[in-house]
């Protein structure tokens, strides 16, 4: 049975420790070890609009949300703490990005090797079965930067 995940503690690492995630208001709303999966929420903000006429969100903010969510899922997959960096990220925009709506993203890290972790992710508004964007990402493990340990993630990491 998987350990209980303290979302508040993980949020300290995902949101409070990462200035850009904090600027976007990204918050973890669900997480599990098996499968290694996280769901995050990004509240609607007019600052993230890409087309002022339609008010739809800019693709870039969706890319960032998916990258952040995907990275968080990698930490839940790893048995040992590691430094990670995104190697490659592909985002497919399946439908029009929403306007005036909070956005959710869900990622699952489904495989890892000694040096790479593989993740798939989606972005949606109401129904994860009807995503408006999907992503595939690979992460390099053991890259530069101080390792973030699972214990630190749980306790709430401060820069």
């Amino acid at each position: 049975m998987a350990d209980e995940i303290d979302l508040e503690m993980m949020n300290a690492a995902l949101r409070d420790f990462v200035p850009h995630n904090k600027a976007l208001g990204i918050t973890l709303v669900a997480a599990s070890y098996l499968p290694a999966s996280v769901t995050v929420k990004m509240p609607w903000s007019p600052r993230f609009v890409g087309n002022p006429e339609t008010q739809v969100l800019h693709g870039g903010v969706i890319t960032t949300l998916l990258d952040a969510c995907a990275g968080a899922s990698v930490f839940l997959r790893l048995k040992e703490p590691a430094k990670i960096a995104t190697l490659d990220l592909r985002v497919d925009f399946l439908g029009r990005a929403p306007a005036h709506r909070d956005v959710f993203a869900r990622a699952e890290c489904y495989r890892d090797t000694a040096s790479v972790a593989f993740v798939r992710a989606i972005a949606y508004v109401d129904d994860p079965e009807q995503p408006f964007a999907s992503a595939a990402a690979t992460f390099a493990l053991d890259t530069r930067g101080r390792a973030i340990t699972g214990e630190e993630v749980r306790k709430g990491l401060k820069p």
Partner: protein, 144 residues
């Protein structure tokens, strides 16, 4: 002025700055556009809120993806004959080096402009254009 008029005005003037300034998310990132030797360059000046990993420290990879997608849109608007803001179908970003806490630049090249989609190759760099920190292939819906 609506978006179509803003695109037309930008093309006439050869200056996309007023158009870029109307897009809230680009203002949030701090992205602006410059012209160098007739090439359009998107610039993302360093700002603390762009940081993704404070221990390196490094820019958030998502901000590089956003910059690359934005420069693809800009290049298509500058070179294509339609005036609507493009819609991204697929964005594939390869992160080559971590983004340092300095200004980042990006440019795009239209690889193929088809009837329905356009494919652009984009790169982002910091101190040296010959040493890109990220590249992207961006597929855009044409005349959406």
């Amino acid at each position: 002025m609506n978006v179509v008029e803003a695109v037309a005005a930008a093309r006439r003037a050869g200056d996309f700055s007023p158009l870029v300034e109307t897009i809230p998310y680009l203002a949030f990132l701090g992205v602006r556009v410059e012209t160098r030797d007739g090439r359009r360059i998107a610039v993302m000046p360093f700002a603390e809120h762009l940081v993704g990993n404070p221990t390196v420290p490094a820019l958030h990879g998502g901000t590089l993806g956003a910059l690359l997608e934005s420069v693809a849109h800009l290049e298509l608007l500058a070179t294509a004959d339609h005036l609507k803001l493009p819609r991204t179908i697929t964005l594939t970003v390869d992160f080559l080096r971590s983004g340092k806490t300095v200004d980042t630049f990006a440019s795009a090249r239209v690889v193929k402009h088809g009837r329905r989609v356009a494919t652009l190759q984009c790169q982002a760099w910091q101190e040296d254009e010959g040493t890109p920190i990220a590249t992207a292939m961006v597929i855009l819906k044409v005349g959406a």
